[in-house]
């Protein structure tokens, strides 16, 4: 047994990795700084409630009601009417080109309907290519417009009140009818950030030894593939733990993401996920001969995992074959688990399936890495 696995040898490997990690200041700083930076950057860039979005106004008649509504909309801070036109076609072009995010159409009979107490209509077309962008602006719309009318009618409050209750805001989300809420994204970001750093770092584990020439020496000594694997992978679990702590704290403080589920379940899920990631990285490392190859393999893996895991696009909205492909990425299962636990308060039974899938990845990657490990320099 002593020959197949020795704690003393593993300890020697761990100490060596720890010293190297500590000495490599820049990489070490990056391991902790980058996730925070990414979270803040992506978190705000993707999630914030965007204001001052360019908008076009289609209003054939410029009466006081129209003006009141436009002013009220601008006061919300969400809309900036850069274009005022009477032509629906021109507005259509503007939104198609992405010059404006909204087209607000106030029909020519709007004023008349308000005065008569009929049912006035407002049409808002939103460029929902990125649905998160439009959601804030749209959600405030109804009340703002109605209040503006109320204000304008003043004395004839009664009629206005009627108009208010009857005001119909028609919202067309264009180009992407699905909506992603922002809470969806921060737990997802945790997965993406972990995947990025963990896989990248460990994918260099062996190639670095090969390129520095230290592999020859390592292989000449009595150390087993399992020990080398654990020696390379375990230190990064610690790094992963620190990253998780940083990201979760920031998620709470900066984005106020709710933690509905139990923390221990969240941590369990993250642990299994990180374990699968470091083993994946290590597997990549056994497959590549140079650091450049390791990088390329890592990126080859990244993009599809981002696109097909449900991070970018709703998983259930993808065609069947893409969903099947998506199952092959740990990120997919992690997202299911973490969103379930963090946002919906899912319990252990509910997330058993994704957890089991992640464990399967751990075993599969470990087996593949051990199988692929080259004990010689051939």
């Amino acid at each position: 047994m002593r020959h197949f696995f020795s704690l003393r040898r593993l300890y020697a490997l761990l100490v060596k990795e720890a010293i190297q990690m500590r000495r490599d200041r820049i990489t070490f700083a990056m391991m902790l700084g980058v996730p925070l930076m990414q979270l803040v950057l992506f978190g705000f860039a993707i999630n914030s409630d965007p204001k001052e979005l360019p908008a076009a106004l289609v209003a054939p008649t410029q009466d006081r009601y129209t003006r009141a509504i436009v002013t009220a909309l601008e006061l919300t801070g969400y809309y900036r009417f850069n274009y005022v036109t009477a032509s629906a076609q021109e507005a259509e072009n503007l939104i198609a080109q992405g010059v404006v995010s909204f087209v607000v159409t106030i029909p020519s009979d709007f004023g008349r309907r308000v005065e008569r107490g009929e049912r006035p209509q407002l049409l808002i077309e939103a460029d929902a290519t990125d649905p998160a962008v439009a959601s804030g602006a749209i959600s405030t719309l109804g009340t703002v417009a109605a209040n503006a009318l109320l204000h304008e009618r003043g004395a004839e409050a009664e009629a206005a009140e009627r108009a208010r209750s009857q005001l119909e805001v028609v919202v067309h989300r264009r180009y992407n009818p699905e909506g992603i809420t922002q809470y969806n994204i921060v737990p997802g970001l945790l997965g993406v950030i972990l995947q990025m750093t963990m896989v990248m770092m460990t994918s260099m584990a062996l190639t670095r030894e090969t390129e520095r020439g230290t592999m020859e020496n390592l292989l000449a000594m009595p150390v087993t593939p399992l020990e080398i694997m654990l020696g390379k992978v375990l230190p990064y679990l610690v790094v992963g733990a620190v990253q998780v702590a940083v990201v979760l704290t920031a998620a709470k403080l900066l984005f106020n993401v709710p933690f509905v589920g139990t923390l221990s379940l969240i941590l369990l899920g993250v642990f299994v996920f990180v374990l699968s990631l470091v083993l994946l990285g290590y597997t990549i490392s056994t497959l590549s001969r140079t650091q450049m190859q390791a990088m390329q393999l890592t990126f080859f893996f990244f993009l599809p995992s981002l696109l097909l895991s449900g991070f970018m696009f709703p998983y259930r909205g993808m065609p069947g074959w893409a969903q099947v492909l998506g199952e092959f990425f740990p990120l997919t299962h992690f997202l299911r688990m973490i969103r379930g636990v963090m946002l919906k308060g899912a319990n252990f039974e509910t997330v058993q399936a994704p957890l089991a899938a992640l464990l399967l990845f751990v075993l599969a990657y470990a087996a593949l890495a051990l199988l692929r490990f080259r004990r010689t320099l051939d």
Partner: protein, 309 residues
């Protein structure tokens, strides 16, 4: 008393990289306690052969035993009892000397590790430098560190791949004194080198060229087997003599050494005739000399043109 088994006893080793045969039918025997030199031009396959012997490469053909273990089946056991010093420095440059040694001690499961490390450090006079990063060491000190690391676990066989390349003469001398001291205690050493003086300090030498072992034995055996004659010309006319001897019948090598000219050839009769004639014409004095190991090697290298690949 039974005859001890050789430390290295391999037969017919073949190693190919792609279509190129880098080691071709090499059979090598190194007795216990022997210092065996391994010589050959650049790219002749020395490093590859050493890697085959310590299990870092899998041979395409051939069998053998190293320290009594089967070369193919017992690679793990061989590794535990062999110390291998690589041609290129291959310790961690971002670790200090002591940290590198602790790492090695851990991998060989030496206990207590710190005691082994401290002993090794003081044996090699590295104690004062122990906290220096390996990457900041000069070539000679790197060599010492590498040697220290590969003898710490008291191996039975030491494989040294050009251990003194780029090391100053004094350090080289000390290095060899150390090797001899270790061999006295029963350690077997296979050492590759390009230096003649080092080859002469070996009990036996093996000469490899283009992947084939073409000469082995003690230094005097190798010199004798080469069947070379050497004449020395002295006098003011040696430059002229060298010119005239170039391409003359029987002359294989002409090498000026300061004020003398060494002329070497395989065909003793022809050589003597050519040299005598030139000596007469250029008024230089001719005398016969011992053939040196270097002359033999030059002969071996030119014997198969394109030995360098």
């Amino acid at each position: 008393m039974n005859v001890p088994e050789p430390a290295i006893d391999v037969q017919g080793l073949v190693k190919r990289f792609g279509k190129k045969t880098v080691v071709n039918q090499v059979s090598l025997t190194v007795e216990q306690g022997e210092i065996s030199g391994f010589l050959g031009p650049n790219g002749s396959g020395k490093t590859t052969t050493i890697r085959l012997v310590c299990g870092l490469l899998t041979p395409d053909a051939g069998t053998g035993r190293v320290l009594g273990y089967d070369l193919l089946r017992d690679a793990a056991r061989i590794k535990r009892e062999v110390g291998y010093m690589t041609q290129r420095f291959s310790f961690y440059e971002d670790l200090s000397i002591a940290e590198n040694l602790s790492f090695v001690a851990g991998l060989y499961q030496l206990f207590p590790a710190q005691e082994h490390v401290q002993n090794t450090l003081s044996d090699l006079g590295l104690t004062v430098r122990q906290h220096q990063l390996a990457g900041n060491l000069s070539g000679g000190w790197k060599q010492r560190l590498a040697l220290a690391a590969c003898i710490m676990h008291k191996p039975k066989l030491l494989l040294l791949d050009e251990p003194t390349a780029g090391v100053d003469p004094k350090a080289r001398r000390e290095f060899w004194d150390e090797i001899h001291a270790l061999a006295e205690k029963g350690l077997t050493v296979l050492v590759s080198t390009h230096y003649m003086d080092e080859a002469e300090r070996c009990h036996r030498i093996n000469y490899i060229s283009q992947g084939s072992l073409i000469a082995s034995g003690t230094v005097s055996e190798v010199v004798k087997n080469a069947k070379l004659r050497t004449f020395i010309l002295t006098g003011t006319g040696i430059a002229k003599a060298a010119e005239m001897l170039a391409g003359a019948p029987g002359v294989d090598q002409i090498a000026p050494f300061g004020l003398t000219l060494h002329v070497v050839g395989q065909d003793a009769k022809l050589l003597e005739k050519s040299v005598a004639q030139v000596a007469k014409e250029t008024k230089t004095t001719m005398s016969e000399a011992e053939t040196s190991l270097e002359d033999v090697f030059i002969q071996l290298m030119t014997g198969d043109e394109g030995g360098v690949s």
